[in-house]
């Protein structure tokens, strides 16, 4: 059970890193995520069904996610639509697109396909105990993504993106077009979300058009848990690690809720309520934590 929690937390952790980029670094609340997560899953499944190599399929899913993010950024930048609404527009359109990708079906199973996860499991059988293979695999995947992101946000481009989330005027004054930064950032964020969706589809054994429902709330809750757990820091390496840790914690809570919730007569449909309540509780706890700080930092 414990490895299941970690695997789930790490798969969704890649999505949480994406949400962290848009919400925290770019200050761009992006709801595209609800559509780009199942988009990644749908692209992965369809590519596998077409007999494509698993890694190549992952790249396709990533590209699809980037494209979805770019569309949101373009709607926001050029039509002067508020970022929330731009995300909702793309998300809504993606619902139809995802069904199209899945061949006009809402759910496509891939239980008999050779997924990346099956290949990895086969390769390492006997070397690592079976139940830990996926755990190790996703630990490596999540850490690779984390380290790549850390490196990215320490380049000039990444740093400027961080500055934009804090102070857009400063970035304009440096002769940088914030629209370009937003396009790159939201694209990257949704690319990661799609990768997460692609892995989730393989782990679950199917792609479903409803897979992304409420995923943004889960992502945000995970980011907030991560921030709550660790002391305030501005080091990108710490922040991304917090996001991953938050994801594992959040999905642990959800896992427990799913499997032991019946004890208190909880059904799976109650989980969304739990997520919302969890976020509200975190907001209250964070406020209480802030009040203890002697001075308030103006934003």
């Amino acid at each position: 059970m414990i490895e299941g929690i970690f695997v789930e937390g790490l798969i969704y952790g890649i999505m949480v890193l994406g949400v962290f980029i848009s919400f925290r670094i770019l200050d761009f609340p992006d709801l595209t995520v609800d559509g780009s997560f199942p988009l990644g899953a749908a692209l992965m499944v369809q590519c596998l069904l077409l007999g494509m190599n698993g890694w190549l399929a992952l790249l396709v899913a990533f590209a699809g996610g980037v494209l979805a993010g770019v569309v949101t950024a373009l709607i926001h930048n050029h039509l002067r639509v508020p970022n929330l609404l731009a995300g909702i527009l793309t998300m809504t359109m993606l619902y139809s697109i995802n069904i199209r990708i899945l061949g006009n079906r809402a759910n496509v199973p891939i239980l008999d396909q050779t997924t990346l996860l099956k290949q990895v499991t086969e390769k390492f059988t006997g070397i690592i105990p079976d139940e830990y293979i996926l755990l190790v695999f996703f630990l490596i995947v999540a850490l690779v993504v984390k380290v790549l992101l850390d490196l990215f946000f320490r380049t000039d481009l990444g740093m400027t993106m961080g500055a934009m989330g804090n102070n857009e005027q400063m970035v304009i004054s440096q002769g940088v077009n914030p629209k370009t930064l937003k396009t790159i950032g939201v694209g990257l964020s949704n690319g990661l979300v799609a990768i997460s969706g692609a892995f989730a589809a393989q782990y679950l054994g199917f792609a479903d058009v409803g897979l992304g429902q409420g995923i943004i709330v889960s992502g945000l809750a995970s980011v907030m848990i991560g921030e709550f757990l660790v002391l305030k820091s501005n080091r990108i390496g710490v922040l991304t690690l917090c996001a991953l840790a938050g994801s594992v914690c959040f999905y642990a809570v959800m896992y427990v809720g799913r499997f032991y919730g019946y004890v208190i007569h909880m059904t799976p449909s109650d989980l969304n309520l739990i997520k919302g309540v969890l976020i509200i509780a975190l907001l209250i706890a964070t406020q209480a934590k802030k009040l203890k700080v002697p001075f308030k930092v103006a934003k």
């Binding site: 380049t155 000039d156 481009l157 400063m170 970035v171 002769g175 914030p178």
Partner: protein, 265 residues
């Protein structure tokens, strides 16, 4: 250099709230000019800056930079050669990032890519530049800027802008939000940098004494027009009394309301 030809800006054109913020402005900023601008609230000083910087698109007229028409260039493009400092000392720097990160972003203008410029060499360069501020900031390069005072952040913004060597700098009451001591320090630094680096600058101020003391040219604005443009020896001979007298002559209205706005010391 920068030239404005018949520039007008009308807000809310065709509505009852129509407001001509700039009225047929013609202005030529020569290289090496240090222009101070005074005028009461609503005179159009900030609108003039916003128009030069590219935040506002003029309703009429054209703006030229180095003989090139830049009227329709967006703000971020003009920012490559126009440096700007705002009244709000927090607008020039990112508070949630460290001093060295801020300097990495600002030491060169233009789009940034996947290079990492922050290394031991640039760090040493930044440190030497910070010494010029005489604030001891060179020992605090890893600290987040939220820990710094408004005066320190404004001085930093000034330094970082000067180092990017802009053709024109726009100072929009950049000391108004600081306490008197810090305002004095930042103003002194401004004057020092402008003469040392031979910069072309425009500075809005509400302080008539500063307007007279600093720079080689003075503009007085009222009702969206430049009503008084004086430079050289003539400007040196100016006093606060003469300036108020001049305004009265030109506008046939009393300055009493404005005296409260324009400080004399």
């Amino acid at each position: 250099m920068i030239e404005l030809k018949n520039v007008s800006i009308v807000f809310g054109q065709g509505t009852v709230n129509e407001n001509k913020a700039l009225n047929n402005i013609n202005l030529k900023v020569k290289e090496g000019d240090f222009i101070t601008i005074i005028g009461s609230n609503g005179a159009g000083k900030s609108t003039l800056f916003n128009t030069i910087a590219g935040t506002y698109l003029p309703s009429e007229g054209a703006i030229f930079a180095n003989d090139k028409n830049v009227t329709r260039d967006p703000e971020y493009k003009r920012a490559k050669y126009i440096g700007r400092i705002f009244q709000n000392p927090l607008l020039g720097t990112a508070g949630n990032m460290s001093l060295e990160d801020n300097m990495t972003i600002t030491h060169k203008k233009g789009m940034k890519w996947l290079r990492r410029s922050l290394n031991s060499k640039t760090r040493e360069m930044f440190r030497q530049q910070l010494v010029q501020l005489k604030m001891g900031l060179e020992h605090r390069m890893k600290e987040n800027l939220v820990m710094f005072s408004g005066g320190q952040r404004q001085a930093l913004t000034l330094l970082m802008m000067v180092l990017s060597k802009p053709s024109l700098i726009l100072l929009d009451e950049h000391t108004a939000a600081l306490d008197p001591k810090n305002a004095e320090i930042v103003l002194e630094l401004t004057n020092k940098f402008i003469s040392e680096y031979n910069l072309t600058a425009m500075m809005i101020t509400h302080n008539m004494t500063h307007a007279i003391e600093f720079g080689n040219r003075l503009l007085m604005m009222d009702g969206g027009e430049i009503i008084f443009d004086i430079e050289g020896e003539e400007k040196k001979a100016l006093t606060v009394e003469k300036l108020i007298q001049k305004f009265h002559e030109l506008r046939h209205k009393t300055f009493e309301n404005d005296r409260t706005l324009l400080a004399e010391d």
